[in-house]
Symmetry: C2
Subunit: 193 residues, 2 copies
DNA sequence: TCACGTGCCTAAAGGTTATAGGTGCAAACC
DNA sequence: GGTTTGCACCTATAACCTTTAGGCACGTGA
């Protein structure tokens, strides 16, 4: 029984592929061991637990998305940059649904702070340089953009928009238009009368 | 060994409570049986499978949310109605995180079509009566609102906005302002030059 | 009072996570 | 070249979850 050459990295990558094929929640140590033709216990030399494995896949997906996002945003600004960033998320989710799901895994604060999640936040903030927003509106806008990107992508992926009239590509385009318009014309703080 | 009085409804309700306490993914037939002081196999007289149980909880949560949403929207219009509906989702998610997570369960198309999900869609569309939108922009707007509500709530619930400067209540208020402004001033279809 | 249905039980099989401890290959050291 | 040492993967085991099959007994209706 020669060695297969397991390692945390290989397990993580294979786990990501498996997630895309069978769904993130079906990524188990057992399934992964089967895929490598290896006994389950062998995985535990490279990965501390099933949870540890899932966390590694999540971090991997976050990195991969952040890499794409960084490339997409480079050299663009305004609506162009907005659309580029947004499309990275949407395209990634459609190409790699399992990895996208993994990226939504709840991480403990310390892990999250050390993850590529912060790059995502920075990139979203960078988009806003093309618009005229000061703090704290900038933070509000970052949160709004994050919400729309994540919300739209997960609803579309979950089939929430399917089987209805205007196709989702059109809605997506109009959503980006709407966000662009909103950012160019960000409403002043409420009257508070 | 008296009878405890199990039924699909009681199991569903108890499952919903359990979800709020330990998280939706930790709702298992075993845990539920323990909670009723009953053997696991007994549940299978009332529920077809673990998946069936989870689906029932999801449908229950969708109904409960739709009930609240219907009440909240009744008699309101414009920004008022928008905020009322949005707050139903946010408050429900904070009060009942497990049920909210359950409501995100992916349902097969037939089940989804028969679920309270369609009430949610109708209510969101009703909100738009206060704004001046024709089809297909109305559908685009419905999808955008759904995305923002779901995206914001799940990011906030997942801790995505935590530990940063402006508190999330403020961002939430400003987000609703922004959506209101956007709907009142919905951008025309793109130039397409 | 008896028969019956059904609500919950025991038993059992199969899958997943996790730990403990063993075996053999290969490189390092003398 | 032989010994040592580390590591990759293994077997064994235990606990937990899901699901099915079949049994007992309690309450209800005849």
């Amino acid at each position: 029984m020669g060695r297969v050459g397991l390692s945390a990295e290989r397990l993580t990558r294979a786990g990501a592929e498996l997630a895309d094929e069978v769904g993130f929640e079906a990524v188990t140590a057992s399934a992964l061991a089967r895929r490598f033709g290896v006994k389950v216990a062998s995985l535990y030399s490279h990965v501390r637990s099933s949870q540890d494995l899932r966390t590694r896949i999540a971090l991997f997906a976050l990195e991969e998305m952040a890499d794409r996002a960084g490339e997409a945003v480079a050299g663009r600004s305004g609506r162009d940059a907005l659309a580029a960033l947004a499309n990275v998320y949407r395209d990634y989710a459609r190409e790699h649904p399992g990895r996208y799901a993994a990226a939504q895994l709840r991480l403990d604060p310390a892990t999250a702070a050390a993850s590529a999640g912060v790059r995502h936040a920075r990139l979203t903030r960078a988009i806003l340089r093309g618009y005229d927003l000061d703090e704290p509106d900038q933070t509000h806008a970052v949160r709004l953009l994050g919400s729309v990107f994540h919300g739209y992508v997960s609803l579309e992926l979950g089939g929430g928009f399917s089987h209805s009239a205007p196709d989702t590509d059109t809605t997506w385009a109009r959503t980006l238009d709407a966000l662009d318009a909103l950012l160019r014309n960000w409403p002043a703080p409420p009257p508070t009368t």
